[in-house]
Protein backbone atom coordinates (compact mmCIF):
# COMPACT_ATOMS: atom_id res chain seq x y z
CA UNK A 1 0.00 0.00 0.00
CA UNK A 2 2.80 2.40 0.93
CA UNK A 3 4.55 1.63 -2.37
CA UNK A 4 1.30 2.15 -4.28
CA UNK A 5 0.94 5.58 -2.69
CA UNK A 6 4.59 6.41 -3.40
CA UNK A 7 4.08 5.53 -7.07
CA UNK A 8 0.89 7.65 -7.08
CA UNK A 9 2.81 10.55 -5.53
CA UNK A 10 5.44 10.27 -8.28
CA UNK A 11 2.64 10.22 -10.89
CA UNK A 12 1.18 13.35 -9.26
CA UNK A 13 4.57 15.06 -9.49
CA UNK A 14 4.93 13.98 -13.13
CA UNK A 15 1.46 15.38 -13.88
CA UNK A 16 2.41 18.68 -12.26
CA UNK A 17 5.64 18.72 -14.27
CA UNK A 18 3.72 18.12 -17.49
CA UNK A 19 1.37 21.03 -16.77
CA UNK A 20 4.30 23.32 -16.03
CA UNK A 21 6.19 22.17 -19.13
CA UNK A 22 3.15 23.13 -21.20
CA UNK A 23 3.29 26.67 -19.85
CA UNK A 24 1.99 28.21 -23.09
CA UNK A 25 -1.24 26.22 -22.73
CA UNK A 26 -1.40 27.23 -19.08
CA UNK A 27 -0.92 30.89 -20.01
CA UNK A 28 -3.70 30.50 -22.58
CA UNK A 29 -6.06 29.21 -19.89
CA UNK A 30 -5.20 32.19 -17.67
CA UNK A 31 -5.91 34.63 -20.50
CA UNK A 32 -9.19 32.88 -21.24
CA UNK A 33 -10.08 33.15 -17.56
CA UNK A 34 -9.48 36.91 -17.69
CA UNK A 35 -11.65 37.17 -20.80
CA UNK A 36 -14.50 35.21 -19.23
CA UNK A 37 -14.34 37.25 -16.04
CA UNK A 38 -14.32 40.53 -17.96
CA UNK A 39 -17.54 39.55 -19.74
CA UNK A 40 -19.31 37.97 -16.77
CA UNK A 41 -18.37 40.73 -14.35
CA UNK A 42 -19.79 43.29 -16.78
CA UNK A 43 -23.01 41.27 -16.93
CA UNK A 44 -23.42 40.84 -13.17
CA UNK A 45 -22.46 44.49 -12.51
CA UNK A 46 -25.25 45.59 -14.84
CA UNK A 47 -27.76 43.20 -13.26
CA UNK A 48 -26.80 44.45 -9.79
CA UNK A 49 -27.05 48.12 -10.86
CA UNK A 50 -30.39 47.82 -12.64
CA UNK A 51 -32.54 45.25 -10.83
CA UNK A 52 -35.60 44.45 -12.88
CA UNK A 53 -38.98 44.44 -11.28
CA UNK A 54 -39.74 41.03 -9.85
CA UNK A 55 -36.14 39.90 -10.12
CA UNK A 56 -34.66 37.70 -7.44
CA UNK A 57 -32.67 39.64 -4.87
CA UNK A 58 -28.98 39.05 -5.49
CA UNK A 59 -26.46 38.62 -2.69
CA UNK A 60 -24.77 41.79 -1.49
CA UNK A 61 -21.79 42.72 -3.62
CA UNK A 62 -23.16 40.98 -6.67
CA UNK A 63 -22.07 37.67 -8.03
CA UNK A 64 -18.67 38.50 -9.46
CA UNK A 65 -16.74 36.79 -6.66
CA UNK A 66 -18.99 33.74 -6.91
CA UNK A 67 -18.35 33.38 -10.65
CA UNK A 68 -14.66 34.10 -10.12
CA UNK A 69 -14.49 31.02 -7.87
CA UNK A 70 -16.61 28.70 -10.03
CA UNK A 71 -14.71 29.55 -13.21
CA UNK A 72 -11.43 29.12 -11.31
CA UNK A 73 -12.47 25.54 -10.53
CA UNK A 74 -13.97 24.79 -13.96
CA UNK A 75 -10.91 25.95 -15.88
CA UNK A 76 -8.58 23.92 -13.65
CA UNK A 77 -10.24 20.59 -14.44
CA UNK A 78 -8.32 17.89 -16.33
CA UNK A 79 -9.67 16.04 -19.37
CA UNK A 80 -9.40 12.73 -17.55
CA UNK A 81 -12.54 11.42 -19.27
CA UNK A 82 -10.93 11.78 -22.70
CA UNK A 83 -7.82 9.98 -21.52
CA UNK A 84 -9.88 7.06 -20.21
CA UNK A 85 -11.99 6.94 -23.37
CA UNK A 86 -8.90 6.97 -25.55
CA UNK A 87 -7.08 4.27 -23.56
CA UNK A 88 -10.12 2.01 -23.30
CA UNK A 89 -11.30 2.38 -26.89
CA UNK A 90 -7.89 2.17 -28.60
CA UNK A 91 -6.55 -0.73 -26.55
CA UNK A 92 -3.97 1.63 -25.04
CA UNK A 93 -5.03 0.20 -21.69
CA UNK A 94 -3.13 -3.05 -22.31
CA UNK A 95 0.38 -1.79 -21.51
CA UNK A 96 -1.00 -0.33 -18.27
CA UNK A 97 -2.61 -3.64 -17.29
CA UNK A 98 0.80 -5.28 -17.64
CA UNK A 99 2.15 -3.15 -14.82
CA UNK A 100 1.95 -3.96 -11.13
CA UNK A 101 0.41 -0.64 -10.13
CA UNK A 102 -3.25 0.33 -10.25
CA UNK A 103 -3.96 2.17 -13.52
CA UNK A 104 -6.93 4.11 -12.13
CA UNK A 105 -5.00 5.46 -9.15
CA UNK A 106 -1.95 6.29 -11.25
CA UNK A 107 -4.00 8.09 -13.90
CA UNK A 108 -6.05 10.07 -11.39
CA UNK A 109 -2.92 11.04 -9.45
CA UNK A 110 -1.23 12.23 -12.64
CA UNK A 111 -4.33 14.23 -13.63
CA UNK A 112 -4.58 15.73 -10.16
CA UNK A 113 -0.94 16.85 -10.36
CA UNK A 114 -1.67 18.91 -13.46
CA UNK A 115 -4.90 20.18 -11.93
CA UNK A 116 -3.13 21.52 -8.84
CA UNK A 117 -0.72 23.50 -11.02
CA UNK A 118 -3.63 24.98 -12.98
CA UNK A 119 -5.47 25.74 -9.75
CA UNK A 120 -2.46 27.66 -8.44
CA UNK A 121 -1.87 29.53 -11.72
CA UNK A 122 -5.53 30.47 -12.18
CA UNK A 123 -5.80 31.40 -8.49
CA UNK A 124 -2.90 33.80 -8.93
CA UNK A 125 -4.59 35.18 -12.05
CA UNK A 126 -7.80 35.78 -10.06
CA UNK A 127 -5.94 37.75 -7.39
CA UNK A 128 -4.18 39.88 -10.02
CA UNK A 129 -7.47 40.43 -11.89
CA UNK A 130 -9.15 41.62 -8.69
CA UNK A 131 -6.27 44.04 -8.01
CA UNK A 132 -6.16 45.40 -11.58
CA UNK A 133 -9.93 45.91 -11.79
CA UNK A 134 -10.00 47.52 -8.32
CA UNK A 135 -12.57 45.08 -7.00
CA UNK A 136 -12.77 44.00 -3.42
CA UNK A 137 -11.87 40.35 -3.03
CA UNK A 138 -12.58 38.05 -0.10
CA UNK A 139 -10.47 38.78 3.03
CA UNK A 140 -6.89 37.52 2.59
CA UNK A 141 -7.29 35.31 5.68
CA UNK A 142 -9.90 33.23 3.85
CA UNK A 143 -7.60 32.37 0.93
CA UNK A 144 -6.19 29.17 2.52
CA UNK A 145 -9.76 27.96 3.21
CA UNK A 146 -10.76 28.80 -0.35
CA UNK A 147 -7.77 26.88 -1.66
CA UNK A 148 -8.75 23.81 0.39
CA UNK A 149 -12.30 23.97 -0.98
CA UNK A 150 -10.88 24.53 -4.46
CA UNK A 151 -8.74 21.38 -4.24
CA UNK A 152 -11.69 19.35 -2.95
CA UNK A 153 -13.92 20.86 -5.66
CA UNK A 154 -11.60 19.92 -8.54
CA UNK A 155 -11.25 16.43 -7.06
CA UNK A 156 -15.04 16.05 -7.12
CA UNK A 157 -15.12 17.37 -10.72
CA UNK A 158 -12.29 15.09 -11.80
CA UNK A 159 -14.07 12.06 -10.32
CA UNK A 160 -17.33 13.02 -12.06
CA UNK A 161 -15.49 13.13 -15.38
CA UNK A 162 -13.69 9.89 -14.48
CA UNK A 163 -17.11 8.23 -14.14
CA UNK A 164 -17.96 9.53 -17.63
CA UNK A 165 -14.63 8.24 -19.00
CA UNK A 166 -15.05 4.78 -17.47
CA UNK A 167 -18.41 4.44 -19.22
CA UNK A 168 -16.30 3.87 -22.37
CA UNK A 169 -16.04 0.23 -21.26
CA UNK A 170 -19.67 -0.12 -22.34
CA UNK A 171 -20.44 2.82 -24.62
CA UNK A 172 -17.07 3.19 -26.41
CA UNK A 173 -17.84 6.87 -27.02
CA UNK A 174 -18.54 8.92 -23.95
CA UNK A 175 -19.69 12.23 -25.46
CA UNK A 176 -23.37 11.73 -24.46
CA UNK A 177 -22.42 10.97 -20.83
CA UNK A 178 -19.95 13.86 -20.79
CA UNK A 179 -22.61 16.29 -22.07
CA UNK A 180 -25.11 15.19 -19.44
CA UNK A 181 -22.53 15.68 -16.66
CA UNK A 182 -21.52 19.07 -18.07
CA UNK A 183 -25.12 20.29 -18.21
CA UNK A 184 -25.81 19.04 -14.69
CA UNK A 185 -22.71 20.90 -13.47
CA UNK A 186 -24.14 23.98 -15.12
CA UNK A 187 -27.67 23.54 -13.74
CA UNK A 188 -27.30 21.84 -10.35
CA UNK A 189 -23.75 22.98 -9.67
CA UNK A 190 -24.55 26.66 -10.15
CA UNK A 191 -21.85 27.63 -12.61
CA UNK A 192 -23.02 31.19 -13.30
CA UNK A 193 -25.39 31.83 -10.38
CA UNK A 194 -25.65 30.27 -6.91
CA UNK A 195 -28.24 27.57 -6.46
CA UNK A 196 -29.43 29.53 -3.40
CA UNK A 197 -31.40 31.60 -5.95
CA UNK A 198 -33.46 28.51 -6.87
CA UNK A 199 -36.82 27.70 -5.24
CA UNK A 200 -36.33 26.15 -1.84
CA UNK A 201 -37.14 22.55 -2.88
CA UNK A 202 -34.78 22.72 -5.84
CA UNK A 203 -32.02 24.35 -3.79
CA UNK A 204 -32.18 21.56 -1.20
CA UNK A 205 -32.07 18.96 -3.92
CA UNK A 206 -29.18 20.61 -5.78
CA UNK A 207 -27.14 21.15 -2.60
CA UNK A 208 -27.08 17.42 -1.99
CA UNK A 209 -25.69 16.57 -5.44
CA UNK A 210 -22.01 16.12 -6.40
CA UNK A 211 -22.47 19.00 -8.85
CA UNK A 212 -22.94 21.45 -5.97
CA UNK A 213 -19.95 19.90 -4.20
CA UNK A 214 -17.99 20.59 -7.36
CA UNK A 215 -18.89 24.27 -7.82
CA UNK A 216 -21.45 25.82 -5.51
CA UNK A 217 -19.86 25.38 -2.11
CA UNK A 218 -16.51 26.96 -3.05
CA UNK A 219 -18.42 29.76 -4.81
CA UNK A 220 -20.48 30.74 -1.78
CA UNK A 221 -17.38 30.64 0.38
CA UNK A 222 -15.81 33.26 -1.93
CA UNK A 223 -19.00 35.32 -1.78
CA UNK A 224 -19.70 35.16 1.92
CA UNK A 225 -16.86 33.44 3.82
CA UNK A 226 -17.68 31.85 7.16
CA UNK A 227 -16.29 29.07 9.32
CA UNK A 228 -19.59 27.23 9.50
CA UNK A 229 -20.06 27.44 5.74
CA UNK A 230 -16.52 26.16 5.22
CA UNK A 231 -17.17 23.09 7.37
CA UNK A 232 -20.49 22.36 5.65
CA UNK A 233 -18.88 22.74 2.23
CA UNK A 234 -15.89 20.54 3.09
CA UNK A 235 -18.16 17.85 4.57
CA UNK A 236 -20.28 17.68 1.39
CA UNK A 237 -17.18 17.61 -0.78
CA UNK A 238 -15.44 14.85 1.21
CA UNK A 239 -18.64 12.81 1.21
CA UNK A 240 -18.90 13.03 -2.58
CA UNK A 241 -15.20 12.29 -3.06
CA UNK A 242 -15.68 9.05 -1.11
CA UNK A 243 -18.88 8.08 -2.95
CA UNK A 244 -17.54 8.95 -6.41
CA UNK A 245 -14.28 7.09 -5.69
CA UNK A 246 -16.31 4.00 -4.80
CA UNK A 247 -18.36 4.41 -7.98
CA UNK A 248 -15.19 4.74 -10.08
CA UNK A 249 -13.78 1.64 -8.42
CA UNK A 250 -16.94 -0.35 -9.12
CA UNK A 251 -17.02 0.79 -12.76
CA UNK A 252 -13.32 0.00 -13.15
CA UNK A 253 -13.70 -3.50 -11.72
CA UNK A 254 -16.70 -4.30 -13.91
CA UNK A 255 -15.05 -2.79 -16.99
CA UNK A 256 -11.76 -4.56 -16.38
CA UNK A 257 -13.54 -7.90 -15.99
CA UNK A 258 -15.16 -7.25 -19.38
CA UNK A 259 -11.82 -6.42 -21.03
CA UNK A 260 -10.09 -9.46 -19.52
CA UNK A 261 -12.94 -11.67 -20.69
CA UNK A 262 -13.55 -10.19 -24.14
CA UNK A 263 -10.09 -8.82 -24.97
CA UNK A 264 -11.35 -5.30 -25.63
CA UNK A 265 -14.49 -3.17 -25.81
Amino acid sequence: MRRDLTAAAVALRVGAGQAMAGWTVLAGRCLFYVLIMTVLSALWDKVAAEPARGAIALPAGGLVLYVLATEWITLSLPAVHMRFEDDIRSGGLEPHLLRPKFYLLQSLAQSLGGTLVRLAALGGTAVVWLAVTGRQGPPAATYPYLFVLGVLAVTVGMLLYAVAGLCAFWTRRILPVQLVIQKLMFLLGGLFAPISLYPDWLRKLAEATPFAAHLYWAGVQALAPSGAMFLTAAAWQVLWIVLLSLLCLALWRAGLAKVLREGGV
Binding site: R3, V14, E94, L97, L98, P100, K101, L260
Partner: protein
Protein backbone atom coordinates in the same frame (compact mmCIF):
# COMPACT_ATOMS: atom_id res chain seq x y z
CA UNK B 1 16.25 -27.16 -18.63
CA UNK B 2 13.28 -26.01 -16.52
CA UNK B 3 10.16 -24.78 -18.30
CA UNK B 4 9.43 -21.08 -17.97
CA UNK B 5 6.15 -21.36 -19.85
CA UNK B 6 3.90 -24.39 -19.85
CA UNK B 7 0.70 -24.34 -21.88
CA UNK B 8 -1.84 -27.16 -21.88
CA UNK B 9 -4.96 -27.23 -24.08
CA UNK B 10 -5.19 -23.46 -23.95
CA UNK B 11 -8.14 -22.07 -25.87
CA UNK B 12 -9.98 -18.83 -26.34
CA UNK B 13 -13.32 -18.29 -28.01
CA UNK B 14 -14.78 -14.85 -28.61
CA UNK B 15 -18.52 -14.37 -28.73
CA UNK B 16 -20.02 -11.36 -30.41
CA UNK B 17 -23.43 -10.18 -31.54
CA UNK B 18 -23.95 -9.99 -35.28
CA UNK B 19 -26.72 -7.63 -36.32
CA UNK B 20 -29.25 -8.90 -38.79
CA UNK B 21 -31.09 -6.76 -41.30
CA UNK B 22 -34.47 -5.30 -40.45
CA UNK B 23 -35.80 -3.16 -37.62
CA UNK B 24 -37.10 -5.84 -35.27
CA UNK B 25 -34.14 -8.15 -35.89
CA UNK B 26 -31.88 -5.41 -34.52
CA UNK B 27 -33.30 -6.21 -31.07
CA UNK B 28 -32.45 -9.89 -31.28
CA UNK B 29 -28.93 -10.07 -32.71
CA UNK B 30 -27.46 -13.39 -33.69
CA UNK B 31 -24.57 -14.49 -31.46
CA UNK B 32 -21.50 -15.82 -33.21
CA UNK B 33 -18.58 -17.62 -31.56
CA UNK B 34 -15.10 -17.48 -33.04
CA UNK B 35 -12.41 -19.83 -31.82
CA UNK B 36 -9.23 -17.70 -31.80
CA UNK B 37 -7.05 -20.28 -30.03
CA UNK B 38 -8.13 -23.91 -30.16
CA UNK B 39 -6.35 -26.00 -27.54
CA UNK B 40 -2.64 -25.32 -27.96
CA UNK B 41 0.09 -27.13 -26.02
CA UNK B 42 3.76 -26.16 -25.74
CA UNK B 43 6.58 -25.59 -23.29
CA UNK B 44 9.33 -22.99 -23.39
CA UNK B 45 12.54 -23.56 -21.46
CA UNK B 46 14.57 -20.92 -19.63
CA UNK B 47 16.78 -18.95 -22.03
CA UNK B 48 14.94 -20.06 -25.17
CA UNK B 49 14.05 -17.46 -27.81
CA UNK B 50 10.82 -18.53 -29.45
CA UNK B 51 8.78 -16.95 -32.23
CA UNK B 52 5.06 -17.45 -32.64
CA UNK B 53 4.16 -16.74 -36.23
CA UNK B 54 1.08 -17.03 -38.35
CA UNK B 55 -1.19 -15.03 -40.65
CA UNK B 56 -3.49 -12.30 -39.34
CA UNK B 57 -6.15 -13.78 -37.08
CA UNK B 58 -4.16 -16.97 -36.48
CA UNK B 59 -4.28 -16.53 -32.71
CA UNK B 60 -0.71 -15.43 -31.93
CA UNK B 61 -1.55 -12.12 -30.24
CA UNK B 62 -4.40 -13.79 -28.36
CA UNK B 63 -1.95 -16.40 -27.07
CA UNK B 64 0.52 -13.69 -26.05
CA UNK B 65 -2.23 -11.77 -24.23
CA UNK B 66 -3.30 -14.85 -22.31
CA UNK B 67 0.28 -15.65 -21.34
CA UNK B 68 0.87 -12.09 -20.13
CA UNK B 69 -2.33 -12.15 -18.08
CA UNK B 70 -4.48 -9.54 -19.84
CA UNK B 71 -6.91 -12.03 -21.35
CA UNK B 72 -8.74 -14.89 -19.69
CA UNK B 73 -8.84 -18.14 -21.64
CA UNK B 74 -12.02 -20.08 -22.36
CA UNK B 75 -10.30 -23.29 -21.37
CA UNK B 76 -7.00 -24.97 -20.63
CA UNK B 77 -4.10 -24.11 -18.38
CA UNK B 78 -0.94 -22.04 -18.53
CA UNK B 79 1.90 -21.46 -16.14
CA UNK B 80 4.32 -18.59 -16.69
CA UNK B 81 7.28 -18.42 -14.30
CA UNK B 82 5.26 -20.56 -11.92
CA UNK B 83 2.21 -18.26 -11.97
CA UNK B 84 -1.17 -18.51 -13.63
CA UNK B 85 -1.11 -15.29 -15.66
CA UNK B 86 -4.78 -14.27 -15.61
CA UNK B 87 -5.13 -15.03 -11.89
CA UNK B 88 -1.81 -13.51 -10.75
CA UNK B 89 -1.43 -10.66 -13.21
CA UNK B 90 0.07 -8.21 -10.73
CA UNK B 91 2.67 -10.66 -9.38
CA UNK B 92 3.58 -11.68 -12.92
CA UNK B 93 3.99 -8.05 -14.01
CA UNK B 94 7.11 -7.74 -11.83
CA UNK B 95 8.70 -10.69 -13.62
CA UNK B 96 7.95 -10.02 -17.28
CA UNK B 97 8.73 -7.29 -19.77
CA UNK B 98 6.34 -6.59 -22.64
CA UNK B 99 6.79 -4.58 -25.82
CA UNK B 100 3.93 -3.88 -28.20
CA UNK B 101 5.29 -2.62 -31.52
CA UNK B 102 2.06 -0.84 -32.29
CA UNK B 103 1.40 0.57 -28.82
CA UNK B 104 3.54 2.81 -26.70
CA UNK B 105 4.00 2.15 -23.01
CA UNK B 106 5.78 5.47 -22.52
CA UNK B 107 4.16 8.80 -21.75
CA UNK B 108 4.23 10.77 -25.01
CA UNK B 109 4.58 14.26 -23.59
CA UNK B 110 7.23 13.32 -21.04
CA UNK B 111 10.97 13.12 -21.67
CA UNK B 112 12.09 9.48 -21.73
CA UNK B 113 14.02 10.01 -18.48
CA UNK B 114 10.80 10.98 -16.64
CA UNK B 115 9.00 7.93 -18.02
CA UNK B 116 11.82 5.71 -16.83
CA UNK B 117 11.76 7.31 -13.36
CA UNK B 118 8.01 6.76 -13.12
CA UNK B 119 8.52 3.13 -14.15
CA UNK B 120 11.09 2.74 -11.37
CA UNK B 121 8.40 3.54 -8.82
CA UNK B 122 5.76 1.50 -10.63
CA UNK B 123 8.03 -1.56 -10.42
CA UNK B 124 9.28 -0.73 -6.88
CA UNK B 125 12.93 -0.65 -7.96
CA UNK B 126 15.68 0.51 -5.64
CA UNK B 127 17.50 3.59 -6.93
CA UNK B 128 21.04 2.16 -7.23
CA UNK B 129 20.39 -1.05 -9.23
CA UNK B 130 17.89 0.84 -11.35
CA UNK B 131 20.44 3.54 -12.18
CA UNK B 132 23.02 0.87 -13.03
CA UNK B 133 20.63 -0.95 -15.36
CA UNK B 134 19.49 2.29 -16.99
CA UNK B 135 23.13 3.29 -17.49
CA UNK B 136 23.92 -0.02 -19.20
CA UNK B 137 20.87 0.12 -21.46
CA UNK B 138 21.47 3.79 -22.29
CA UNK B 139 25.00 3.00 -23.37
CA UNK B 140 24.06 -0.14 -25.29
CA UNK B 141 21.19 1.61 -27.11
CA UNK B 142 22.96 5.00 -27.52
CA UNK B 143 20.13 6.78 -25.73
CA UNK B 144 22.15 9.53 -24.01
CA UNK B 145 20.98 12.28 -26.37
CA UNK B 146 17.38 11.06 -26.28
CA UNK B 147 16.79 10.87 -22.54
CA UNK B 148 15.65 14.47 -22.18
CA UNK B 149 13.59 14.51 -25.35
CA UNK B 150 9.80 14.10 -25.18
CA UNK B 151 8.84 10.71 -26.56
CA UNK B 152 6.35 12.13 -29.07
CA UNK B 153 9.17 14.01 -30.79
CA UNK B 154 11.23 10.86 -31.38
CA UNK B 155 11.40 8.90 -34.60
CA UNK B 156 9.79 5.45 -34.55
CA UNK B 157 13.21 3.78 -34.31
CA UNK B 158 14.28 5.99 -31.40
CA UNK B 159 10.97 5.40 -29.65
CA UNK B 160 11.26 1.64 -30.05
CA UNK B 161 14.74 1.70 -28.48
CA UNK B 162 13.21 3.53 -25.52
CA UNK B 163 10.26 1.10 -25.40
CA UNK B 164 12.57 -1.90 -25.17
CA UNK B 165 14.70 -0.13 -22.56
CA UNK B 166 11.53 0.59 -20.54
CA UNK B 167 10.51 -3.07 -20.69
CA UNK B 168 13.87 -4.21 -19.32
CA UNK B 169 14.42 -1.68 -16.52
CA UNK B 170 12.98 -3.93 -13.82
CA UNK B 171 15.17 -6.86 -14.94
CA UNK B 172 12.49 -9.28 -16.16
CA UNK B 173 13.42 -12.89 -16.77
CA UNK B 174 10.91 -13.21 -19.58
CA UNK B 175 10.33 -10.80 -22.45
CA UNK B 176 7.18 -10.76 -24.60
CA UNK B 177 7.58 -8.90 -27.89
CA UNK B 178 4.59 -8.29 -30.16
CA UNK B 179 5.75 -7.08 -33.60
CA UNK B 180 8.79 -5.23 -32.18
CA UNK B 181 10.16 -4.10 -35.57
CA UNK B 182 6.93 -3.16 -37.32
CA UNK B 183 7.28 0.04 -39.35
CA UNK B 184 11.01 0.43 -38.71
CA UNK B 185 13.63 1.04 -41.40
CA UNK B 186 16.32 -1.55 -42.17
CA UNK B 187 18.97 -0.04 -39.88
CA UNK B 188 16.62 0.32 -36.93
CA UNK B 189 15.33 -3.23 -37.40
CA UNK B 190 18.89 -4.57 -37.39
CA UNK B 191 19.75 -2.63 -34.20
CA UNK B 192 16.65 -3.92 -32.40
CA UNK B 193 17.23 -7.53 -33.46
CA UNK B 194 20.91 -7.46 -32.47
CA UNK B 195 20.04 -6.00 -29.11
CA UNK B 196 17.26 -8.44 -28.27
CA UNK B 197 19.38 -11.45 -29.25
CA UNK B 198 22.52 -10.31 -27.41
CA UNK B 199 20.70 -9.10 -24.30
CA UNK B 200 18.74 -12.33 -24.00
CA UNK B 201 21.88 -14.42 -24.53
CA UNK B 202 23.97 -12.42 -22.02
CA UNK B 203 21.27 -12.39 -19.32
CA UNK B 204 19.81 -15.86 -19.86
CA UNK B 205 16.51 -14.19 -20.68
CA UNK B 206 13.63 -16.08 -22.25
CA UNK B 207 12.02 -14.35 -25.24
CA UNK B 208 8.62 -14.97 -26.80
CA UNK B 209 8.16 -12.96 -29.96
CA UNK B 210 5.42 -12.56 -32.57
CA UNK B 211 6.23 -11.02 -35.93
CA UNK B 212 5.30 -10.99 -39.58
CA UNK B 213 8.91 -10.29 -40.52
CA UNK B 214 10.76 -13.51 -41.22
CA UNK B 215 14.10 -11.76 -40.53
CA UNK B 216 13.00 -11.18 -36.91
CA UNK B 217 12.47 -14.89 -36.61
CA UNK B 218 15.66 -15.92 -38.38
CA UNK B 219 17.94 -13.50 -36.56
CA UNK B 220 16.48 -13.53 -33.05
CA UNK B 221 14.79 -16.86 -32.38
CA UNK B 222 16.07 -20.39 -32.13
CA UNK B 223 12.66 -21.99 -32.26
CA UNK B 224 9.47 -21.26 -34.21
CA UNK B 225 5.88 -22.11 -33.41
CA UNK B 226 3.60 -21.64 -36.40
CA UNK B 227 -0.08 -21.18 -35.65
CA UNK B 228 -2.94 -21.12 -38.08
CA UNK B 229 -6.64 -20.91 -37.29
CA UNK B 230 -5.87 -21.17 -33.59
CA UNK B 231 -3.84 -24.38 -33.84
CA UNK B 232 -0.14 -25.14 -33.81
CA UNK B 233 0.85 -26.48 -37.21
CA UNK B 234 4.63 -26.51 -36.79
CA UNK B 235 6.87 -26.32 -33.72
CA UNK B 236 10.54 -26.79 -34.49
CA UNK B 237 14.00 -25.16 -34.33
CA UNK B 238 14.49 -22.19 -36.65
CA UNK B 239 17.35 -23.89 -38.51
CA UNK B 240 15.14 -26.77 -39.50
CA UNK B 241 12.27 -24.49 -40.43
CA UNK B 242 14.57 -22.31 -42.51
CA UNK B 243 15.80 -25.33 -44.38
CA UNK B 244 12.28 -26.57 -44.88
CA UNK B 245 10.40 -23.40 -45.61
CA UNK B 246 12.47 -20.24 -45.57
CA UNK B 247 15.02 -21.39 -48.12
CA UNK B 248 13.45 -19.28 -50.83
CA UNK B 249 14.19 -15.73 -51.98
CA UNK B 250 12.38 -13.45 -54.36
CA UNK B 251 14.75 -11.52 -56.65
CA UNK B 252 13.46 -8.67 -58.81
CA UNK B 253 15.64 -7.43 -61.70
CA UNK B 254 14.90 -4.04 -63.26
CA UNK B 255 16.23 -3.87 -66.80
CA UNK B 256 16.10 -1.35 -69.63
CA UNK B 257 15.46 -3.85 -72.37
CA UNK B 258 14.24 -7.43 -72.47
CA UNK B 259 13.57 -9.29 -69.24
CA UNK B 260 16.09 -11.65 -67.66
CA UNK B 261 15.93 -15.24 -68.75
CA UNK B 262 17.92 -17.79 -66.71
CA UNK B 263 18.08 -21.52 -66.81
CA UNK B 264 19.33 -22.48 -63.37
CA UNK B 265 18.14 -25.25 -61.04
CA UNK B 266 15.58 -24.08 -58.47
CA UNK B 267 14.98 -20.75 -60.24
CA UNK B 268 11.44 -20.15 -61.40
CA UNK B 269 10.00 -17.10 -63.05
CA UNK B 270 7.02 -15.44 -61.38
CA UNK B 271 4.44 -13.20 -63.02
CA UNK B 272 6.66 -10.31 -64.17
CA UNK B 273 6.01 -6.76 -65.34
CA UNK B 274 7.49 -4.69 -68.17
CA UNK B 275 11.20 -4.13 -67.50
CA UNK B 276 10.92 -6.09 -64.24
CA UNK B 277 11.65 -9.79 -63.95
CA UNK B 278 10.66 -11.52 -60.72
CA UNK B 279 12.40 -14.79 -59.93
CA UNK B 280 11.80 -17.22 -57.09
CA UNK B 281 15.01 -18.91 -56.03
CA UNK B 282 15.31 -22.11 -54.04
CA UNK B 283 18.55 -21.34 -52.21
CA UNK B 284 19.16 -25.01 -51.44
CA UNK B 285 19.70 -25.56 -55.16
CA UNK B 286 21.19 -22.25 -56.31
CA UNK B 287 22.71 -19.48 -54.20
CA UNK B 288 21.45 -15.92 -54.57
CA UNK B 289 24.86 -14.62 -55.73
CA UNK B 290 24.93 -17.22 -58.50
CA UNK B 291 21.59 -15.96 -59.80
CA UNK B 292 22.70 -12.34 -59.69
CA UNK B 293 26.02 -13.12 -61.37
CA UNK B 294 24.25 -14.97 -64.17
CA UNK B 295 21.79 -12.14 -64.69
CA UNK B 296 24.53 -9.50 -64.67
CA UNK B 297 26.44 -11.50 -67.28
CA UNK B 298 23.42 -11.13 -69.56
CA UNK B 299 23.80 -7.32 -69.24
CA UNK B 300 21.19 -4.56 -69.14
CA UNK B 301 20.41 -4.88 -65.40
CA UNK B 302 19.67 -1.51 -63.77
CA UNK B 303 18.56 -2.55 -60.28
CA UNK B 304 18.20 -5.64 -58.13
CA UNK B 305 15.93 -6.26 -55.11
CA UNK B 306 16.16 -9.34 -52.89
CA UNK B 307 13.26 -10.19 -50.59
CA UNK B 308 11.96 -13.05 -48.52
CA UNK B 309 8.78 -14.61 -49.79
CA UNK B 310 5.74 -12.96 -48.20
CA UNK B 311 4.94 -14.45 -44.81
CA UNK B 312 1.56 -15.56 -46.09
CA UNK B 313 3.33 -17.70 -48.72
CA UNK B 314 5.62 -19.28 -46.14
CA UNK B 315 2.64 -20.01 -43.93
CA UNK B 316 0.70 -21.31 -46.89
CA UNK B 317 3.62 -23.65 -47.68
CA UNK B 318 3.76 -24.83 -44.10
CA UNK B 319 0.03 -25.28 -43.92
CA UNK B 320 -0.04 -27.14 -47.23
CA UNK B 321 2.79 -29.40 -46.15
CA UNK B 322 1.18 -30.19 -42.79
CA UNK B 323 -2.03 -31.10 -44.60
CA UNK B 324 -0.12 -33.25 -47.07
CA UNK B 325 1.64 -35.25 -44.34
Amino acid sequence: MSAVITVKSLSKAYRYARRRGGFFEAFSPEHVTIEAVAGVDFEIARGERVAIIGPNGAGKSTTLKMLSGILEPSGGEASVLGLTPWRERKALAYKIGVVFGQRSQLWGELPARESFTLLRHIYDQEAAPFAKRLGELTERFALTDLLDQPVHRMSLGQRMRCEITASLLHGPGLLFLDEPTIGLDVTAKAAIRDFIREHARDHGQTVLLTSHDTRDIELVCDRVIVVNQGRIVVDQPTDQLRRRFLGRKIITFQSAGQGVSLNLPGVTRRLSEAHATILEVDTKLTRVEQVIAAAMADGGIEDVTIEDPPMEEVIADIYASTHAT
